[in-house]
């Protein structure tokens, strides 16, 4: 297998006085979708934020395409080609959909062809193009957040629970978009609680517990082993 596009080696992160990540080891293979799973509060979001430099790793290495980025400022990390969809979506509510997208195109004006494609993947983006983003519904905001990360080709996407609380139709739309990204050759690290989405998209998978990755392997292995799921996450994903 080729070198991983991203690997975390013994990463420790504190939030205020709390020791949240306690030695995370994680690999994201190039060109694949890696699912990051685990119960609530085990540190999935903290892991993504540490990769982006929004929390600082106090120990360990975050290696992106051969370079340790753990100490780089957040904008420099983003400019290496990492698109981030945060758990809270990070929408600029006072800005229009268009302005949100314009900002996300960091290296220049929006590419018309790519925008056209994104608007066909996410039709509400076209309908509400001039609308203030704060007035969108939850599902529309989530589409905007994902589309914003996709407006330029990135090497790696960090996506935090994109389908949380959304209706099945929108979940299907988002899953379709992520599949399209995968076909484009991008690597994705995806936190996803919806097991059918996880199973359909994931190539590899890492399960966290208490600030560590406690199991890593093929998605198919985990999907096929109910007992393992129960042990790692305290519940069977097949119940979904």
């Amino acid at each position: 297998m080729s070198d991983p596009v991203l690997s975390l080696q013994g990463v420790h992160t504190d939030i205020a006085q709390y020791h949240i990540l306690r030695g995370v080891d994680l690999e994201v293979p190039a060109g694949g979708v890696t699912m990051l799973l685990g119960r609530n509060g085990v540190g999935k979001t903290t892991t993504l934020r540490t990769i982006m430099g929004l929390w600082r790793a106090k120990e360990g290495r975050v290696v992106f395409r051969g370079e340790d980025i753990a100490a780089l400022p957040t904008p420099a990390i983003a400019r290496r080609g990492i698109g981030f969809v945060p758990e809270d979506m990070g929408i600029f509510s006072d800005l229009s959909v268009e302005e949100n997208m314009t900002l996300a195109a960091v290296s220049g004006p929006i590419d018309a062809e790519r925008l056209d494609w994104l608007q066909s993947v996410f039709p509400p983006l076209r309908t509400f193009w001039k609308k203030e983003a704060g007035t969108l519904s939850g599902g529309q905001k989530q589409m905007l957040s994902v589309a914003r990360a996709m407006i330029e080709k990135r090497r790696l996407y960090l996506i935090d629970e994109p389908t949380k609380g959304l209706a099945p139709a929108i979940v299907a739309t988002l899953a379709g978009a992520l599949r399209a990204l995968k076909q484009e050759g991008a690597s994705i690290l995806l936190v996803e609680q919806n097991f059918s989405v996880a199973k359909a998209l994931g190539d590899t998978c890492a399960v966290m517990d208490d600030g560590r990755v406690v199991w890593a392997g093929e998605m198919a292995t985990l999907a096929g082993d109910t007992a393992l799921q129960e042990r790692l996450m305290g519940l069977s994903m097949e119940s979904a």
């Binding site: 400022p73 990070g90 800005l95 900002l103």
Partner: protein, 343 residues
């Protein structure tokens, strides 16, 4: 780990009425003007007061606009902002005094040229000063409000003392350039030319700022940064550089406001900036921290109220603005046009 059921609540958009309600404060300025008309017996006095209130409001807006963005972008409370107003005024007035042959000539073109040179000099001086102030005084205390208040107040005191050393302890009286003196009469009301000029200039500047904020990428970054600085960084923009640029621009604008205020009052003192800061802070707070539009409306309200009340009952002029602050915060605790903040 199930998909959301079909009946899952979706957060729907705001209704038209809710959206209109958000913009309700835009009506406050015309409303206050009408109230002033009803409260002031003579129409001519009302007209004079309205123009002078708007002029004063424009100048306060120019002084305050940078401060609101500085707060919005990085949560920095700068009590030293008044220093830029004073320094702008002293540098500008010194230049005007040196250009006596231009300001004394009965030619509008020469007079305006002198004012423009003074403004350019004052803005350049306060821009440089803003850059130094940011690096030396503000940067070491990012994220610590109490320290920011203490340290920036200390900076203000130092700058005021420096003004006393350079320009001496006395207030400096001067007069406006020849063609900017006097008044025109309109509908029986005497309206000072300079005030009209200040209103026009302030309006143009406000529109220019809005254009920059809405139509340029830098403007977009600033607006987005006020709402969610972290996300702006996660997209790849260095918020700190944007912040420093805004700080410098805001300082230069305060310097500009200082020159305009000096020309309005025809006298300058080292602590004039500090005195204006009371009104500037009121305006920034009632406008909604980080909102340039809110700051603009707030400034016009404060300017108008100060003039109307000063005419009707001079003794309560100053507390009328505190009253305005209280009323607006009771209505909208985040200010009139609050920026939707992440977190």
């Amino acid at each position: 780990m199930t998909a959301a059921p079909d009946h899952a609540p979706t957060i729907t958009g705001l209704s038209t009425w809710q959206r209109m309600q958000r913009h309700l404060p835009l009506l406050l300025v015309p409303l206050l003007v009408v109230v002033g008309y009803l409260a002031i017996p003579a129409t001519s006095s009302w007209l004079t007061l309205t123009v002078s209130g708007l002029a004063m409001g424009m100048m306060i807006f120019i002084m305050a606009s940078g401060l609101t963005l500085v707060f919005g972008l990085m949560d920095v409370i700068n009590f030293g902002h008044g220093a830029f107003i004073s320094v702008g005024a002293f540098v500008g007035v010194s230049i005007l005094l040196a250009l006596g042959s231009l300001t004394g000539a009965p030619s509008l073109a020469l007079n305006i040229a002198a004012v423009l040179v003074a403004v350019a000099g004052a803005m350049a001086a306060t821009a440089v000063m803003g850059w130094i102030f940011e690096r030396v005084i503000v940067k070491p205390v990012y994220g610590a409000h109490l320290k920011q208040i203490l340290v920036t107040m200390g900076g203000l005191i130092i700058v005021e003392q420096l003004i006393l050393i350079v320009w001496g302890p006395d207030e400096i009286f001067f007069s406006r350039p020849e063609m900017l003196k006097g008044a025109i009469t309109f509908a029986g009301a005497a309206i000072e030319k300079y005030r009209l000029l200040a209103v026009g200039f302030g309006l143009v500047l406000f529109l220019a700022m809005i254009w920059v904020l809405r139509s340029t990428k830098i403007g977009l970054i600033v607006r987005a940064g006020v709402q969610n600085g972290e996300m702006v960084e996660a997209l790849g923009y260095r918020l700190r550089i944007v912040f420093v640029a805004v700080f410098i621009a805001g300082s230069a604008l305060a310097g500009l406001g200082g020159v305009m205020w000096a020309l309005y009052q025809e006298v300058i003192t080292a602590h004039m900036g500090q005195e204006m800061m009371v009104l500037v802070f009121i305006v920034v707070i009632i406008g909604g921290l980080g909102s340039v539009e809110g700051c603009f409306i707030g400034a016009l309200l404060v300017g108008l109220l100060q003039n109307y009340v000063g005419f009707i009952e001079p003794k309560v002029a100053l507390i009328s603005n505190i009253g305005l602050l209280v009323l607006i915060l009771m209505w909208r605790p985040q200010g009139m046009l609050p920026v939707v903040k992440a977190k």
